[in-house]
Amino acid sequence: MAKKHLTQEEVDQLKEITNIGAGNAATALSHMLGKKIGMTVPDSFVGGITDVQRMLGKTEDTVVATFLKVHGDLEGAMVMILPPKSAIDFVDILTKEKIKDIKELQQKDLSAIQEMGNILLGASITALNKFLDMTMIHSIPDVAVDMLGAVMDEILVEIGSDTEEILAFRINLHLEGKKVGGDLYYLFDPNSSSKILKMTSKKV
């Protein structure tokens, strides 16, 4: 059963999961780019799928979204959301290709971003598997360029259509001292919250 009313301690425990997952992702990104990566404090949210949309912020902003589905002990999805400027900057760093506008992104540029997302989100899952002593596997990644709300809609419904509820975490990764970065979203079926809490309680 979904736990709707979490105590502050439980919320903190769940957020710690995000730090562990994103910490590993940040390390992977740092190795990949040879740059220092900063991380923000994570947000978390448990609630109805229409309410999770309100956590997103400016839903009509165009973003580059890389997404993969998560199966196994926890069911859900992970998403990397890059604002257009950051997507262009990452393409520049990864492929040495200068692009002025997001409309100029070609399939090979999107593939580079998708692969970056695959590495970051995959690293997150590896860290969570290890910490939670669980087995989760992920699908191949997919990438879309569109409005934030439009891309997240479909993902939220895909995970939450049975219960219409979602357990969501968000954390921002960025090149230290620069405005180049993006948000990672870890989205789980709400039943996952009790499973995560059970495992984290054993650890502390």
């Binding site: 569109d146 479909e154 219409e164």
Partner: protein, 162 residues
């Protein structure tokens, strides 16, 4: 009433005359516009899911905003019609337009049985069962859309961001 109303996912609004109802970032959701051709009364709904799954019906209290009476495509159609009738629209003169039902990630669902296609199907079925003709639609594909509905003449303007 005239002016602009913005609705979010799961919401609907009814307006008349010069009213404009807008909704943004429509991906796999379906946006349903229904209006009375003669009396300048109409409504717009932004539905996220095709059907309710065995839960009790919530009572609709507010047509303006913050309600979730349009979360499900089939109920959204019913609630739109109810709201339009309450504002003086004639049930027999209603026509509909549909937008959305896209598949943003091809690898996630494919084109056929994705949630977008199910949303469209659900709205179509309900409209048909209520005898409401679908005048026009811009559905499917893989682009997010912004929708603006002009109640006065039933015009639906669809924009994409890219």
């Amino acid at each position: 009433m005239s002016g602009e109303i913005n609705i979010k996912t799961g919401e609907l609004a009814i307006d008349s005359k010069d009213g404009i109802i807008k909704t943004g970032s429509v991906g796999s959701c379906v946006v349903i516009a229904i209006y009375d051709r003669n009396d300048s009364v109409g409504g717009l709904a932004h539905a996220m899911l095709p059907h309710r799954r065995g839960k009790k019906e919530e009572k609709m209290t507010d047509f303006k905003s913050g309600n979730t009476s349009a979360k499900y495509a089939d109920e959204a159609v019913e609630n739109l019609v109810r709201g339009i009738k309450a504002k003086g629209g004639d049930e027999k003169k209603l026509v509909a337009k549909l937008v959305g039902g896209a598949s943003m990630f091809k690898k996630l669902t494919g084109d056929k049985h994705g949630i977008g296609a199910q949303n469209i199907e659900s709205a179509r079925e309900k409209l048909q069962s209520m005898g409401i003709e679908i005048d026009n639609e811009d559905t499917g594909g893989s682009s997010g859309k912004i929708v603006e509905f002009h109640v006065k003449n039933g015009m639906v303007q669809v924009n994409t961001t890219l």
